[in-house]
């Protein structure tokens, strides 16, 4: 199968392009590395620098003056920072509480591929895959004071006055978190569906023969087998709460006031709506540190999975 070329050329070429084992040389990864360096790496450096300076639209191109830790002390001393941190945690926990049990229940219920179950599963994954803005519009209409949910609740005679889901107290945060959990649930179902295939079927059948109930089979056989998946998904969803804000942005804009503002949205709002680039950068650095806490265990469990 060796290609016939001039004997003087082949060895030289092979030496230059190819290591003896045929493994790819570093030029395969060079374009991606350079690209990520310029588009993500260098901007990260800029982000840290901006968080120690005062950058406003006027000083955006020149860079602003160095102010040390002023931006950080201002952020941590601002009266709303604690509330926003709590809201971010609540958001993340609600996403977990909806997406994990819901996704597992859906994956188990839809495990058998009948037509009806297949359609249900397909519909769920489709809604997950739709552009976030489309889902956010639909849910904003559902939760809107004159929207679908209030119309249905009134039609059923459950309420007389509309509920202000997107305006009243904790409801905006809860509504937005619910939607984030709703969109995360099909993703969890997809991942759980794959994990459920690795649950030892013989053990389940043996336990059933021995008279173990459904709950006992679940907690003693199924759950231990899928617990690594539960762990990974928990990290993913919690980190998602700290880094993403598109549903909140479209449904409530973080409001009313800051009633549904979470940390990632705060950084965005400061930078692009209040034109306080340094304030936004400071919040972003704080969220990066929070995300780092999640990234390490996630990497370790990914490594463990690929060893199997």
């Amino acid at each position: 199968m060796t290609t016939v070329t001039s004997p003087t050329r082949t060895p030289r070429r092979r030496k230059r392009l190819n290591s003896p084992t045929g493994l790819p040389r570093v030029y395969f990864v060079l374009p991606a590395t350079v690209f990520i360096f310029f588009i993500v790496g260098y901007p990260m450096f800029e982000l840290f620098r901006m968080s120690f300076a005062t950058v406003t639209p006027a000083t955006l191109l020149t860079g602003g003056d160095y102010v040390g830790f002023d931006n950080y002390t201002a952020l941590f001393n601002s009266p709303s920072f604690g509330d926003i941190a709590v809201r971010t945690a609540v958001f993340g926990l609600i996403v977990l509480l909806i997406a994990l049990p819901g996704g597992l229940a859906a994956a188990m219920a839809l495990e058998k591929r009948t037509k009806f179950f297949g359609f249900t599963y397909g519909l769920m994954v489709l809604m997950w895959a739709l552009p976030p803005i489309v889902n956010a519009v639909a849910w904003r209409f559902i939760f809107f004071q004159d929207g679908a949910l209030n119309e249905i609740l009134r039609g059923l005679g459950i309420i007389d006055e509309p509920i202000f889901f997107l305006l009243d107290g904790w409801l905006p945060l809860l509504s937005v978190s619910f939607v984030a959990g709703w969109v995360a649930l099909p993703f969890a179902a997809v991942v759980f569906r794959a994990a459920l295939m690795d649950v030892p079927k013989e053990q389940l059948e043996a336990a059933e023969v021995d008279g173990a109930g459904a709950a006992s089979r679940f907690w003693n056989i199924t759950f231990p087998s899928i617990s690594p998946t539960v762990y990974i998904l928990s990290i993913l969803f919690l980190s998602w709460a700290v880094r993403s804000f598109d549903f909140t942005f479209v449904m409530t804009g973080g409001g009313p006031g800051e009633a549904s503002t979470t940390l990632p949205l705060l950084g965005y709002v400061k930078a692009f709506q209040l034109a306080d680039f340094s304030g936004g950068a400071t919040v972003a650095v704080v969220t990066i540190i929070a995300v780092l806490i999640f990234a390490l265990p996630y990497t370790r469990s990914l490594g463990k999975q690929s060893d199997r």
Binding site: P20, P24, F28, I39, P43, F187, L236, L302
Partner: protein
């Protein structure tokens, strides 16, 4: 598996969960379709009686009155441009990463995971300044390279399993046969990972089609906005034209719907393989 499937009769709880899911995931879509056919500027009703005066005029107005056709073109340019860039950089890089020693690859994995988890705002705030320095604000290329840069680590993670499943012996064998690095990649490795490449390419396309955060901040003229970004303007308008907004949402969703219906199985498999199995 087959044996069980034959014996299996779906249980009552399974039907309850499935029905609940149908309601939870069907109703938002149903409301969008229902509302988008009602008179522009009115408040849509979801009662069955509202179906009587259903019309497609909001869909027509989207193109004719509001002239939103170009925004779909903008979406296509941004999504296809980003996907092409990510594949061009990502495929060789993912291949290279898959051939590293376990120690080196787990060290690099930490960096990739960290980059993939970076908060949106953390990327876009400094990038705004950097792109401004480079004169790329208000330019579709700015959005494309910003999206490609921030999604490339994610694509690398998802592509990893496909490349790792190819045994290293194949490299040795083809090196003995005299295939150079690039040729090996192009005519041996890539054909074997074609499925994975297509799956991750499709996922990238779908994610970038839906982006609005990068677009509304890095583009200055709304004429350049992709479809999803132009909806944001609608939503935050002082008085919302719900039926028009819903028609715009459905139109924005249609390309994703088509891609999804064609490639459904492939997408769900790629998703579960990449996210957890590493």
């Amino acid at each position: 598996m087959k044996k069980r499937a034959r014996r299996f009769r779906p249980s009552v709880p399974a039907y309850i969960v499935a029905s609940l899911m149908i309601v939870l995931y069907g109703s938002p879509l149903a409301f969008l379709l229902l509302g988008s056919g009602q008179t522009a500027g009115t408040l849509p009703s979801v009662s069955p009686a509202s179906i009587t005066d259903y019309s497609l005029s909001n869909y027509v107005d989207y193109f004719v009155v509001y002239g939103n056709g170009p925004s779909l073109w903008n979406s296509a340019v941004i999504a296809l441009g980003t996907t092409t860039l990510i594949m061009a950089f990502g495929l060789p890089a993912a291949y290279w990463l898959s051939r590293l020693s376990p120690f080196a690859s787990s060290a690099l994995l930490i960096i990739v995971v960290f980059l993939q988890m970076l908060p949106q705002a953390a990327v876009i705030i400094p990038l705004y300044r950097v792109l401004a320095l480079w004169g790329l604000i208000g330019n579709r290329w700015g959005v494309i390279i910003a999206l490609a840069g921030s999604l490339l680590p994610w694509a690398l993670l998802l592509l990893g399993p496909y490349f790792r499943s190819i045994p290293r012996e194949l490299n040795e064998a083809s090196a003995v046969d005299g295939a150079g690095g690039l040729r090996q990649f192009w005519s041996i490795i890539l054909p074997l990972t074609r499925n994975g490449a297509i799956t991750i390419g499709l996922l990238t396309f779908m994610v970038t089609w839906g982006d609005f955060v990068y677009s509304i901040n890095l583009l200055t003229k709304s004429a350049l906005y992709p479809a999803s970004a132009s909806i944001v303007g609608y939503v935050n308008a002082y008085s919302v034209d719900w039926p028009g907004l819903m028609a715009a949402s459905v139109i924005t969703a249609i390309p994703i719907l088509i891609v999804f219906l064609i490639f459904q199985r492939r997408l769900t498999e790629g998703l579960s393989a990449g996210s957890v199995k590493g």
